[in-house]
C-alpha cells in the first residue's frame, strides 16, 4: 500500500534518493562509461580547434579551463544541443515549469490566498518538484476495455507534438532548431495534430466523459483553427515570407501589432482556445464532464499531458511574439564584452570568466527581449484564467465560426487594400525594411 509510514522523515526520503543516485553513478562508472569509450573508438570523432575530440580530451577540460570554451562553443552549435537544450526542449520545459509555479502563485494572489507555501521552505518553490515526484510514484490505472497501445502512446505523442512546435520557434537570429522556409505553415500543420490526439486518447479510454471531452476538443479546435490561420495571414503578406526568422526580421522598424491590432487580438483569442485554457477549457470542464478527456489519466500520463500543454503555451506565446511583437528586437542593453579587454589578454581564467567566444552580445540581447515579451504574453494568458468563467460550447462555436472569421476577413481585405495602395508592405510609404 502506498501510504506514509509513521516514522516517515523527509530527510530519509532525500537520503534514499541520494543513495539511488549513487548506485546509478557507480553503475555508470563501471559499466556504461567503458561501453561509451569502446563505441567511440570505432566511430569518427569531431574536430575542435584542429584536434580530434577524443573522450580523454573531452574530460581534460575539467582540469584545463582553456579547453572548456572551444568545446562548449563546438557543442553549442551542434543540432543535438539545439534540439535538446537551448532553444529546444529543456529551455521550453524550464519556462513551462516557471509558468506553472507563477500561475499558481499569481492566481493565489488574485484570489486572496497564499498558494504553494511549504515545499522548499521559501514560498513553496519546490512545489512543482514535489508534484512531479508524486506523479512519478503514482500507479497508472488503465481502464478495463481501454485500447492499450493508444492509451499509452497518446500522452507521449502529445508531448512530442508540443516539442515539435517548440522546435520551430526562433528565439534569436540563427537560434532555432528547425529553420524551415515554410515555418508558419509547419506550425499550423503540427498544431492540427492536437485534436486528433485528444480524440484518440478519449476514445481509447473507453469512458463516457472523456469521449464527450474529446468531441468537444475536436469541435473547438476546428472552429478556431481557421481564424487562427487567417489572423496570421496578413503578417505573411506584410513580410512576404513564411519563414519565422524572416517574419521577425521584417519587424525591425515597426512591430506588426501596431499595423494589425485586430489580427493580434484574434490570434490571442484563438490561441487561448487552442490551448484549452479558461474561458475555453470546455474539453476539461470539470463541473459538466468530470475532467473531460483527461478523466481517465493517472500518474505520469497526466503529468506528461500537463507538460505538453504548458510547452504548447510557451510555443504559442512565442509565436505571438514572433508574429506581432517584433520577435527579439529591443534596445541593446548588454555590453559587447562581459569583461572589457578579456579577448586581448592572455590570462585563460579571465577569458573563462568573460566567456570569450561563447558570449555574443546580440544573441544574448535577442534572447533577453524575446523572453521578456514571451513572459508578458504568458502572463496575459494566465490572468484571464482568474477573471473569467467557462463559456458554453454553442457560444464558443458561434464566436469561432462567425465573429472571429468575419473579423479576420475584414482585416485581411483592409491590409490588402493598404498594400496595393502602397501605404504599408515591403515597398510602402511606411517602409518596414
Amino acid at each position: 500500500m502506498a501510504s506514509l509510514t509513521p516514522d516517515f522523515r523527509f530527510g530519509n526520503f532525500v537520503a534514499s534518493i541520494v543513495w539511488v543516485l549513487f548506485v546509478v553513478l557507480a553503475l555508470v562508472t563501471v559499466l556504461i562509461l567503458p561501453i561509451i569509450f569502446f563505441t567511440l573508438f570505432y566511430i569518427p570523432l569531431p574536430v575542435v580547434d584542429g584536434q580530434v575530440l577524443t573522450p580523454y580530451l573531452f574530460f581534460s577540460m575539467m582540469v584545463d579551463p582553456s579547453r572548456t570554451l572551444p568545446i562548449l562553443q563546438f557543442f553549442m552549435h551542434t543540432t543535438l544541443f539545439k534540439a535538446a537544450v537551448f532553444p529546444g526542449f529543456v529551455f521550453a520545459a524550464l519556462i513551462a515549469a516557471v509558468t506553472i509555479f507563477v500561475e499558481r502563485k499569481l492566481l493565489a494572489k488574485m484570489q486572496l490566498r497564499v498558494g504553494p507555501l511549504y515545499a522548499g521552505k521559501v514560498e513553496g518553490i519546490f512545489q512543482l518538484l514535489a508534484d512531479g515526484l508524486k506523479l512519478l510514484t503514482k500507479e497508472i490505472i488503465v481502464p478495463s476495455g481501454a485500447d492499450k497501445p493508444i492509451f499509452w502512446l497518446a500522452p507521449i505523442m502529445f508531448v512530442a507534438t508540443a516539442a515539435a512546435v517548440v522546435a520551430l520557434i526562433p528565439v534569436a537570429p540563427g537560434w532555432v532548431v528547425a529553420d524551415v522556409d515554410v515555418g508558419l505553415i509547419a506550425v499550423f500543420a503540427i498544431l492540427g495534430f492536437f485534436p486528433l490526439i485528444a480524440l484518440l486518447f478519449s476514445w481509447a479510454s473507453n469512458s463516457k466523459y472523456p469521449f464527450i471531452g474529446g468531441l468537444r476538443a475536436l469541435h473547438q479546435m476546428i472552429a478556431f483553427e481557421i481564424p487562427f490561420f487567417l489572423s496570421a495571414l496578413p503578417v505573411v503578406l506584410l513580410s512576404s515570407s513564411l519563414n519565422l526568422t524572416e517574419i521577425a526580421r521584417s519587424q525591425y522598424m515597426i512591430w506588426n501589432i501596431f499595423l494589425l491590432p485586430i489580427n493580434a487580438f484574434v490570434f490571442f483569442i484563438s490561441s487561448l482556445a487552442e490551448l484549452e485554457r479558461i474561458p475555453f477549457d470546455l474539453p476539461e470542464a470539470e463541473s459538466e464532464i468530470v475532467a473531460g478527456w483527461l478523466t481517465e489519466t493517472t500518474g505520469m500520463i497526466y503529468g506528461l499531458i500537463q507538460l505538453g500543454s504548458y510547452l504548447k503555451l510557451y510555443a504559442l506565446a512565442g509565436l505571438f511574439v514572433i508574429l506581432f511583437l517584433g520577435g527579439w528586437y529591443g534596445p541593446q542593453i548588454f555590453p559587447p564584452e562581459l569583461i572589457p579587454g578579456a579577448h586581448e589578454s592572455n590570462l585563460p581564467l579571465l577569458q573563462m570568466l568573460a566567456l570569450d567566444g561563447v558570449y555574443n552580445a546580440i544573441t544574448v540581447n535577442s534572447v533577453f527581449w524575446f523572453l521578456i515579451k514571451t513572459i508578458f504574453i504568458i502572463f496575459l494568458m494566465l490572468v484571464i484564467r482568474g477573471i473569467n468563467p467557462r463559456i458554453r460550447i454553442d457560444i464558443l462555436l458561434h464566436t469561432g465560426w462567425y465573429k472571429l472569421i468575419v473579423l479576420t476577413f475584414i482585416n485581411l481585405f483592409v491590409v490588402l487594400m493598404l498594400i496595393y495602395g502602397g501605404i504599408i508592405g515591403p515597398e510602402g510609404v511606411i517602409s518596414i525594411r
Binding site: 474561458p279 477549457d281 470546455l282
Partner: protein, 386 residues
C-alpha cells in the same frame, strides 16, 4: 412559453420515446454524482442526445440520516444540536424554526432582547450560507476567483458567529425560549464594522462575476421558470423570487421582530438562471440592511432567554411554524402528546421543493447549462435528504 401541463406532456412523450429507444446508440446515459465534481451529495442520471439533455432522473437520498425520527427520542433541547446538522452553514435559521414551534406548543414568549439577538444570529447565518452557495456557483461555472472570494469573506461572518455563540458553524444558538447567551462585550461595533466592509465586497462580486459578459452570455435566458410554473411546482425562496413572485416569509408571516424591521422583498422578473444567481446577492444586501437595523433597535439590557426546564412538558397538540431560511421557507410541524419528547416532527425544507424544478428545467437544455441551472436552484442535497 408553453404552459406547465404542455411541458409535462411533452416530457412524458419524450420519456416514452426514450424507453423505446433505450437500445439506440443515439442516446448516452450519464451519471452525474455522487462522485462527480458537479453534483454534491446527490446523483441524477441524465440522457443526452448530442449536446441536449432529453431525460433527467434525480436520485436523492445519499445522506439520509433520519433526523425526523431521531427527534422522537430526544427532548426539545437535545433536538437542537442534531437538527442543525443538515445545513450547518445555515444552522441558526433551522433552529429558529424549531424553537418557534416549541415555544408555540409550550406557550411562552421570548424576551424582547432575545428576539433581536436571534434574528441577528439568523441573518448572519443566512449571509454565511449564501456566500458558501455563491462560492460553489462560481466554481461550477469555472470561475475560480468567485470560489475563493466568497469562501474567504465568509470568515468575517463566521468570526462574528463564533464571538456570538462560541462555535464557528454548528452554533446551536437559537434554542426554545430565546438564545443561549447574551452578546459579548463590544459585539455591536465589531458587527457593524464587518457588515459594512462586507457590503463593499458585494460590489466587487458584481464587478468580477455578475457583470462579466461571458457569465451573462451563459446564464441569461437559460433555464426559464415562469411565474405560473414556479407557483405550480411549489418552489420557494430565491428561486421563487427570481421568477417574479415577491414571497418572503419574513414579510408574509412576520415572526418575532421582523414586523418592526423595514426591508424590501427583492425579486426579479427575468425568470432565468442569471436571476436565480443574482437574487441571493440582492438578499444579502437586504440582510446587511436588516442587521444594521437590528443592532440599532436592540434594547440595551434585559433577559435574552425565558428560563425553561430541561425536560419541559408541553400541552398535547400540534403546531407548524416557518421561517425564511437561505433556501426559502423552512417549516417545522411538531406534534406533541404531552411528554417531554415530541411525538412527531416533520420538516418542510426549501431544498426539496426546489429540487422538483430540476427535471423540469434540465429537460431540453444543453449539457453545458447543467451546472448553471442545477446550482442556481439553491438546492442543498443534505437538507433535502435530512
Amino acid at each position: 412559453m408553453s404552459s406547465l401541463q404542455e411541458k409535462i406532456d411533452e416530457a412524458k412523450k419524450l420519456s416514452l420515446q426514450i424507453t423505446k429507444e433505450t437500445e439506440d446508440d443515439r442516446l448516452m446515459t450519464l451519471s452525474v454524482g455522487p462522485q462527480h465534481p458537479g453534483s454534491g451529495h446527490f446523483r441524477f442520471t441524465i440522457k443526452v442526445d448530442g449536446d441536449y439533455i432529453v431525460f433527467v432522473d434525480p436520485d436523492p437520498g445519499y445522506v439520509h440520516r433520519g433526523h425526523e425520527k431521531m427527534c422522537e427520542y430526544r427532548n426539545h433541547f437535545q433536538n437542537i444540536p442534531h437538527l442543525e446538522r443538515p445545513v450547518i452553514h445555515d444552522s441558526c435559521n433551522i433552529t429558529y424554526a424549531y424553537s418557534l414551534a416549541v415555544e408555540d406548543l409550550v406557550g411562552i414568549t421570548v424576551p424582547r432582547r432575545g428576539q433581536f439577538i436571534r434574528a441577528l444570529a439568523s441573518e448572519l447565518s443566512r449571509l454565511s450560507y449564501t456566500l458558501y452557495w455563491l462560492a460553489i456557483y462560481g466554481i461550477f461555472l469555472g470561475h475560480s476567483t468567485m470560489f475563493m472570494w466568497p469562501a474567504g469573506d465568509r470568515e468575517l461572518l463566521i468570526d462574528l458567529l463564533e464571538r456570538l455563540s462560541g462555535a464557528r458553524v454548528t452554533n446551536a444558538f437559537n434554542i426554545p425560549g430565546g438564545v443561549r447567551n447574551d452578546i459579548p462585550y463590544n459585539f455591536k461595533e465589531k458587527c457593524l464594522a464587518q457588515v459594512n466592509y462586507f457590503e463593499t465586497r458585494l460590489k466587487e462580486y458584481e464587478d468580477i462575476f455578475y457583470n462579466n459578459p461571458l457569465l451573462r452570455q451563459r446564464t441569461e435566458g437559460v433555464g426559464i421558470l415562469t411565474k405560473e410554473d414556479a407557483i405550480k411546482l411549489g418552489v420557494t425562496g430565491s428561486v421563487l423570487r427570481a421568477s417574479g413572485v415577491p414571497f418572503d416569509v419574513r414579510k408574509v408571516e412576520p415572526y418575532d421582530v421582523y414586523d418592526e424591521i423595514e426591508f424590501k422583498v427583492q425579486y426579479m422578473k427575468t425568470c432565468d438562471s442569471f436571476a436565480r444567481a443574482y437574487v441571493p446577492v440582492l438578499d444579502m444586501r437586504e440582510s446587511c440592511h436588516i442587521i444594521r437595523q437590528l443592532l440599532d433597535k436592540m434594547p440595551d439590557s434585559g433577559d435574552v432567554r425565558e428560563k425553561l426546564q430541561f425536560n419541559i412538558k408541553s400541552s398535547p397538540g400540534e403546531t407548524y411554524k416557518r421561517v425564511e431560511s437561505g433556501r426559502g421557507a423552512l417549516g417545522y410541524h411538531v406534534v406533541s402528546d404531552g411528554t417531554p419528547r415530541p411525538y412527531r416532527v416533520k420538516a418542510s425544507v426549501g431544498s426539496f421543493r426546489n429540487l422538483l424544478a430540476l427535471p423540469f428545467l434540465l429537460t431540453g437544455s444543453k449539457l453545458g447549462d447543467m451546472p448553471a441551472i442545477y446550482w442556481s436552484l439553491n438546492y442543498w442535497p443534505v437538507e433535502a435528504d435530512r
